[in-house]
Symmetry: C2
């Protein structure tokens, strides 16, 4: 019997989850749940759409629920509330608030007799695993995380809030010379500015003061002031044509020494055409794992650190040992 | 209380395990066990040396035993025999024989009420994990494994068995153009010859027929005949000076598409100055995990696929979630 999956939220992430489920031989999407009027939402593969309020009456139809909302306001409220009723998976990515979110979801899932996994995606998620494996193998390991080249949606949004900006995209780009030093096993001490560049493509309103816009961008605290930032003013057509996608990726590099000064460098990298669709694919694999763990009696909140990799694959343990080990 | 570790076998791997344990805050080496006369073996950090026959009387002193023998004759006999008496970890790396080895160790460990992990290292081991994670996230993933640039000890041994060869080192080298195609997400079909080159540095005996040696190398079945192989004749001094180490490494690249032709490439790579010392470090991390799992009630044989990553680190789960997730 296939694992029956609910999708809560139907933005980029929810749409990606729907497509990933359509490709999963052992899973099926039973419904998309939305806070919009259901009749206004059309799914890509014909999955039925329900109002979010219908969820609570569908506990018997859903084995695991994938939460596809945002980390700032949706997930802190939704995941703990729904973890009491469903096995759930989310991609909560506000690093500093993960311990509090974990505690809330853990308590709810235990109270409801359910299993959950939070902060599933690529960072947090696969990159966290790379940091943990690397740091556990090499005792004196130093692990560096570089993001990009890729579009940061938060930074693109920040650009669009500036007066006179019609549209914009921001790329986060690792500094090549820093990458090279880390790859050589040097373990340098790098400032924020030394690790990443920020490149902005901005469509200005007609007659807007581009010098003022550029100044506002480069001095914006938290977002740009600590970085070397370049700003390009381009037309809306050029933005649509050349900067339409949401590619991302990055690399985790751990280096350390063993024995008599033998250096080791472990590198995990991702090059993603679609940030959201990759995150969705990770969510689906962990939804499979959470449901199977729950079937075996696991309760409470898990992270990627807690979940044995064998649970992620639709293949049997015997096949995985024979084929991949 | 520290985890008390026994080291069985004191070649490159056993020596690496001893050094890795000396750097592990939560573990200590309680003894090296050898089939040589114990008084002829001197350890690097003062760990006491015992005869292999002393092992069975030391069950109470050892929490987990790391088996550092070879895969061809040592481990198939030792791991099942000792898994009945101790929690054990080995680096059994004959891929085709892993399922049989697993079954033997699993039966022994269950009979003795112990936990075991086999085939721990970098391939099998970390590379197997990269193949499993990558293949589970991307449904249509194709995963490629390239080894090198690094010294293959099996191939170096094969060279040294040729008449007229005094000493030799063989490097396995990935074909750059094949790597580039795989990294671009192309999913090409690659023959053995298209994936790796073999480069040999050979010290010939005085007066030996180097043309005959070169011919014998290049036509040697299984080892060299299926590869593009280059042979360099050099002096023993040059071999010692330039090819004295045992560096290795390689890369696992998984690529696949999601949604509307969005391509994703996941890459896990290792650059290792010392093949044996890195493998030793992986063994020590998994020895920690096996002992903790056994303490929690786990019995039988595990692989890297079965072990939750959190058990590999000396840090607490709470710290790992706060610091690395």
């Amino acid at each position: 019997m296939k694992i029956r999956v609910g999708i809560f939220g139907y933005g980029n992430l929810g749409r990606g989850v729907e497509l990933a489920l359509a490709n999963s031989p052992d899973m099926q999407a039973v419904g998309v749940f939305t806070r919009r009027a259901p009749e206004t939402v059309k799914t890509q593969t014909g999955v039925p759409v329900y109002a979010a309020s219908a969820l609570e009456s569908m506990q018997k139809e859903i084995d695991v629920l994938i939460l596809c909302g945002g980390s700032s306001t949706d997930l802190p409220e939704q995941t703990p509330r729904l973890a009491r009723l469903f096995n759930v998976v989310d991609s909560f990515d506000t690093h500093a608030k993960i311990p509090a979110h974990f505690a809330a979801v853990d308590a709810a899932a235990k109270a409801g007799g359910k299993a959950a996994a939070i902060s599933v995606g690529w960072d947090p998620g696969m990159f966290s695993l790379a940091r943990l494996y690397g740091g556990s193998i090499l005792q004196d390991a130093k692990c560096y995380t570089f993001w990009g080249k890729g579009v940061s949606q938060g930074h693109s949004d920040a650009l669009r809030r500036i007066e006179g900006v019609v549209d914009a995209k921001q790329y986060t780009i690792p500094v090549e010379s820093a990458l090279a030093r880390v790859r050589a096993g040097e373990q340098p001490c790098l400032s924020t500015r030394e690790k990443h560049l920020r490149e902005c493509f901005v469509v200005a309103a007609e007659g807007a003061d581009t010098a003022r816009i550029e100044r506002e961008i480069k001095t914006m605290p938290n977002y740009f002031a600590d970085y070397d930032t370049t700003v390009h003013f381009i037309s809306q057509e050029e933005l649509n044509e050349k900067h339409g996608g949401l590619p991302h990726g990055g690399v985790v590099i751990c280096s350390g020494e063993t024995g008599n000064r033998n250096k080791h460098v472990i590198e995990y990298s991702l090059k993603l055409d679609s940030n959201a669709e990759f995150t969705s694919s990770v969510l689906v694999a962990y939804a499979r794992a959470v449901y199977r763990l729950w079937q075996e009696g696991a309760r409470g909140c898990k992270t990627v650190f807690d979940i044995p990799p064998v649970y992620l694959s639709p293949k049997s343990r015997e096949d995985l040992i024979a084929e991949l080990l």
